[in-house]
Subunit: 327 residues, 2 copies
């Protein structure tokens, strides 16, 4: 059965049927607006990220369920990056009228399962026919105003930390393009795990002076921190957290063994800066959370920009800084 056969309003009714509304949702899908109750004393967070077919994803390399999960996950990652708690989301779709209803259901199932894992409710959206598939999600959350971590706030002398490992998602995309369908890196590309509870813990324990999630690549996203914080950064190449699989596979896909870890996007790890005296507390948190959190560099004067330093002190040449959508 195709969308054109059931029509827009039956689609909306079917989506509403799949949706469970959490507390705090006064009015969800089905009116002109969604209505949400703020928690006492909290401020409101809002972020939006879109995924467009042939730009952000290729349908031949993923499936609608995982695509739905990822569309929500990348937005959850933005809330994670400020240490907030996600609560509700809206999704706008453009989709060809000849799409199978089963495809759309799998897409929503992915979005709903990913969001429900974080107690996040679908509360509204808009749908339209279009030539290609576009998923535009707006995610809402809340936080204590004083605990929010921004991109600005990094200070000279701070250490730079990153959760998890780097470059796997970009390597996974290369592997997918070569026909690989399995393995950790492929999974990292198709089904990123947003670091929501990690971001909350970092905020709650006041461990970070600045934080961002890595979507554009380590160097580019660190660039956002240093620009807004008016500082510079040195990355210690030998300290980059690289997964076992990345180490084994990378040479089959890239002539530069560090390029994907430095500049590849979509790892959705958290990158943050901390005063050096917090290093022990960061290590303790990593243990509690059961994930690696690695010191990978230090904050320096603004004049340095972002530099990568090899063992011995030589500067490592950067070929590519990150992704620009219009270039």
């Amino acid at each position: 059965m195709k969308l054109a056969e059931i029509g827009e309003f039956a689609l909306i009714a079917a989506i509403k049927e799949m949706t469970a509304e959490g507390e705090g949702v006064i009015k969800g899908i089905g009116d002109d607006v969604a209505v949400l109750r703020p928690s006492p004393g909290k401020v409101f967070l809002v972020t939006t990220d879109l995924l467009l077919e042939k730009v952000h994803f290729r349908l031949e390399l993923t499936d609608p369920y995982r695509l739905g999960r990822k569309a929500v996950a990348v937005n959850l990652s933005d809330i994670a990056a400020c240490g907030g708690t996600p609560t509700a989301f809206l999704v706008s779709l453009t989709i060809p009228a000849e799409t199978e209803v089963a495809f759309v259901q799998a897409l929503y199932q992915g979005m709903l399962e990913q969001s429900q894992e974080f107690k996040v409710s679908l509360v509204g959206g808009d749908t339209s026919r279009g030539n290609g598939l576009l998923i535009s999600i707006t995610l809402i959350g809340e936080a204590e105003e004083g605990a929010i971590i921004y991109r600005e706030g990094a200070r000279k002398g701070d250490l730079i930390f990153v959760t998890g490992s780097l470059g796997d998602a970009a390597l996974g995309l290369e592997m997918l393009k070569q026909g690989k369908r399995d393995g950790g890196p492929v999974q990292r590309h198709l089904a990123p795990l947003p670091r929501v509870k990690e971001g909350q813990a970092i905020a709650r324990q006041s461990l970070a002076t600045a934080m961002i999630d890595i979507s554009d690549g380590l160097v580019a996203d660190l660039g956002h921190i240093v620009e807004t914080s008016k500082v510079g950064a040195k990355i210690w190449l030998s300290r980059l957290p690289i997964s076992e699989e990345y180490r084994k596979e990378v040479e089959g896909y890239s002539t530069d063994p560090y390029a994907l870890a430095l500049s590849g996007g979509e790892d959705y790890e958290l990158l943050f800066t901390s005063a050096p005296e917090k290093e022990r507390a960061v290590g303790k948190l990593a243990e509690e959370l059961g994930i690696p959190i690695q010191a990978i560099g230090e904050v320096v004067d603004a004049s340095a920009g972002v530099r990568v330093i090899e063992e011995g002190g030589k500067e490592y040449p950067l070929k590519q800084k990150g992704h620009d959508h219009f270039r």
Copy 2:
């Protein structure tokens, strides 16, 4: 100069430069999330509407400034329809890389001027290259929980009211397609005026049992009210508020003189139901606001659905009920 030449980050910086942030905005454009402070005792409203090239608009029939205004106006209209106060918005764009920067600036100028008229701040968004232009806006607002007017709530015996006049926007679109570039109906199509202060006044004075804005057409949107309220409705054909220009021009563009007023979309007038004893208060409000608010029908049993009645009591045949995006 084209977008491809300045790049994504220069575009975001230029947009940020054009933006003025209102009170209540703790953090606007430029971080992972926007942060908003809720007004004490208010709940949060959120709505999203997208406009896609060749589906919702044609660039040869409008200009980027008016398109920007309209993209914001249709979202403001949704907040108006519940009686709320809009506060902030996010905009996601897909746009071809070869687009002129001046086009994008005019588009944002339209969005920003329209939003600033209602003291609404641009606080975030996402941009991506794409084959066509898509504008996806999420608008945030607030309201007193008890004063929000939903689609449900209409009761048998209520009168049905509509602000302003009907059919002009749909007529204007037909006129544009025939090469007309001026006149009231064309203006109504290209530059709709969201009824924000009217919606707020209706809510404040508790005049409505249910309310919606007319985006899909009178019959379709009244259909949304009767369905969610589990009632039916009769529209009195002779009472439809028709503008002078509509009366003069309609026969050049439609064989049925009422079709565009009954089923044409995008008037963005408010449609609401009220207890009959409120009729005088509604009339008084219309005078205060300086706009017509016309009683156009009555709420009846659910079995009736939505019917249009001619003078003398005969049912008027409906050719088209409204717009379905996938049919």
